[in-house]
């Protein structure tokens, strides 16, 4: 996948990603307020395929999976961060959003064109050709992401079980 980077700092929390005041609303409205407390332009200007880049502990705070869902709804193709809050990491995968840990995120400038291979853990800066190493996603988690999330994977498994195929 390839996309433009949006760069954020450390400890981006779920209240910033999915503000509580909009939690009653449908995802299209909630997503319109994603990260507005950090970067008011983000939800308006992010394009399908863009990649969110962040520092440590991305997604800390609540269990609300709308934090990951909002990013996905806005078309974000992946999040690359120095580290993730565990709960957000699991939520992102369960909603089909690739999440990669990368120690070298500070090499990435805002608006840079990136090429990302989640399975191999390779991230390439298109302008300079520089390759950054990410931690490759474990295969069983990549499988959930490739299915489009846990719901899709469960649906497939249940259908196979009904037809008597091995799960």
């Amino acid at each position: 996948m390839s996309g433009r980077s949006w760069v954020f700092g450390d400890d981006i929390d779920t209240d910033a990603l999915a503000p509580g005041r909009w939690m009653k609303s449908a995802i299209d409205e909630l997503a319109g307020h994603c990260l507005e407390a950090v970067d008011a332009a983000f939800a308006r200007e992010v394009r399908r395929g863009d990649i969110v880049v962040a520092g440590r502990n991305f997604g800390c705070g609540s269990s609300r999976e709308q934090a990951a869902q909002a990013l996905r709804h806005l078309g974000v193709a992946a999040v690359v961060a120095r580290s993730f809050a565990g709960l957000f990491y699991r939520n992102a995968i369960n909603l089909g959003l690739p999440v990669l840990e990368c120690d070298a995120v500070d090499r990435i400038a805002a608006g840079a064109q990136l090429e990302l291979d989640p399975a191999r853990g390779r991230l390439r800066l298109a302008a300079s050709g520089e390759e950054l190493r990410c931690v490759p996603m474990p295969p069983f988690l990549l499988e959930i992401v490739r299915a489009g999330g846990l719901l899709n994977q469960l649906e497939k498994r249940l259908a196979e079980a009904k037809q008597g195929k091995p799960a």
Partner: protein, 420 residues
């Protein structure tokens, strides 16, 4: 081989004799808890799409708390979805509008040492205070649990926080957690397990231990644990949980640890975390010039019976300062009733407190929140920008003692000289 409490709990749930840190295992879930926000509202459409039912209704606990007390039609509709779903699915363990899920779960004796549980709420580590493995997950992952009764996890390492000595008057579990957030940061727990031990910890009542485990979420741990003891047994007996086994639910001598940190409880001072992060915690003395308009005693973290008692110990015979609103949202109906019967609530009301519903309320931030520009001192767990209202709201986190002392002073104040 010597095992940590976390390893023993996970091994049991995974049907294994032992597990090693780092390996990925699948565990059978003894109990799954969710609420009106993370639960039926999101689960029901997904279950319908799958054409799947609940794996075991007797292992599910549903609590309405996040949208309870909301006056608007959307909030009422969300709570109604939970009620209708509980009825349709035959969920007997349904607690409707009687308090915040983590507190309701504990007071009804659902959690016992040795159990493996998940909750669709980030403060689910609260259950770890009972020597059970309990952690928070999102709604879609809860769907997986509800359908299969199983969940995967990577066996965590344990970080031991050892507190010797005794906490001084006016110092409590909340100060411990703010201190640890300030010291180790919001990712200090590294999604591993934080276990609390030492004389100062074993001297704490269950609800104080719950505050410790609860705020391991703010440290970024998967969960927090306190090994069960006689205090746990007494609490659970009163909660109707029946006989409780203490063995083998403790970390063995020499069990492998990621880190061990030792602290002297006698030296801990009241802590306050400045906006907009729990990691901004420093001693209360550094904030004594901060004038406040609102003092909030609320949430699973800070409005249990023990928390209300702490506030009352400061507020007895005193009045809230002019221009300050003291808001109290007792964490459960049962705690509120006990506080009423023993006189604790009367003390708070006489001091000028206004009572709010037994729900997540302002802490969840799903309503309008505090007025723009407001400066608030709060017993809750999180003060992220915009969490409790407009992004201009400034929330300082503190203990119930400190929040009560601040309400009296009209500015952030050290409670230690005011505690009765």
């Amino acid at each position: 081989m010597a095992q940590t409490l976390a390893q023993k709990l996970i091994a049991r749930a995974a049907g294994r004799a032992a597990v090693s840190a780092g390996e990925i295992v699948v565990c059978r879930v003894d109990l799954a808890m969710f609420h009106d926000s993370s639960g039926p509202r999101r689960l029901k459409p997904m279950l319908e799409r799958l054409g799947a039912g609940v794996w075991d209704p007797s292992r599910i606990v549903l609590v309405t708390d996040h949208y309870v007390g909301g006056e608007d039609a959307e909030s009422r509709a969300i709570v109604r979805i939970a009620r209708d779903w509980a009825k349709a699915e035959g969920i007997r363990n349904f607690h409707d509008g009687v308090g915040i899920c983590h507190v309701v779960l504990a007071e009804n004796g659902y959690l016992r040492p040795g159990m493996f549980a998940v909750g669709a709420d980030s403060h689910s580590p609260t259950g770890g205070a009972f020597g059970a493995y309990m952690f928070g997950i999102g709604a879609t992952e809860m769907l997986g649990v509800v359908v299969t009764g199983e969940i995967w996890l990577r066996v965590p390492e344990t970080i031991l926080m050892h507190w010797d000595g005794r906490f001084g008057a006016g110092v409590c579990a909340k100060d411990v957690m703010l201190f640890l957030c300030g010291r180790f940061g919001l990712d200090g727990g590294a999604y591993q397990v934080i276990e609390f031990a030492g004389a100062a910890i074993t001297a704490l009542p269950m609800q104080e231990r719950m505050t410790l485990a609860n705020m391991t979420a703010e440290l970024g741990a998967q969960t927090g644990l306190v090994a069960a003891d006689e205090t746990t047994q007494r609490y659970l007996a009163a909660a109707g949980a029946g006989d409780v086994e203490l063995e083998p639910w403790h970390s063995d001598q020499g069990a492998p640890l990621r880190a061990r940190h030792a602290f002297d409880a006698d030296r801990l001072t009241p802590q306050v975390a400045a906006p907009h992060s729990p990691a901004n915690a420093r001693p209360v003395a550094e904030f004594e010039a901060v004038a406040i308009e609102v003092a909030y005693v609320g949430a699973c973290t800070g409005a249990k019976l023990e928390d209300l008692r702490m506030a009352a110990r400061v507020l007895e015979g005193r009045r809230v300062a002019a221009g300050v609103a003291l808001l109290v949202a007792p964490a459960s109906r049962r705690d509120q009733d006990t506080a009423r019967a023993e006189g604790t609530l009367g003390v708070l009301e006489q001091a000028g407190a206004r009572l709010l519903p037994n729900a997540c309320g302002l802490c969840a931030g799903y309503g309008e929140g505090f007025a723009p520009q407001a400066t608030v001192v709060s017993t809750t767990a999180r003060n992220f920008k915009g969490r409790m209202g407009d992004p201009s709201v400034r929330v300082y986190l503190a203990s119930p003692y400190t929040v009560a002392a601040s309400a009296v002073a009209g500015r952030i104040a050290d409670p230690r000289e005011l505690v009765h």
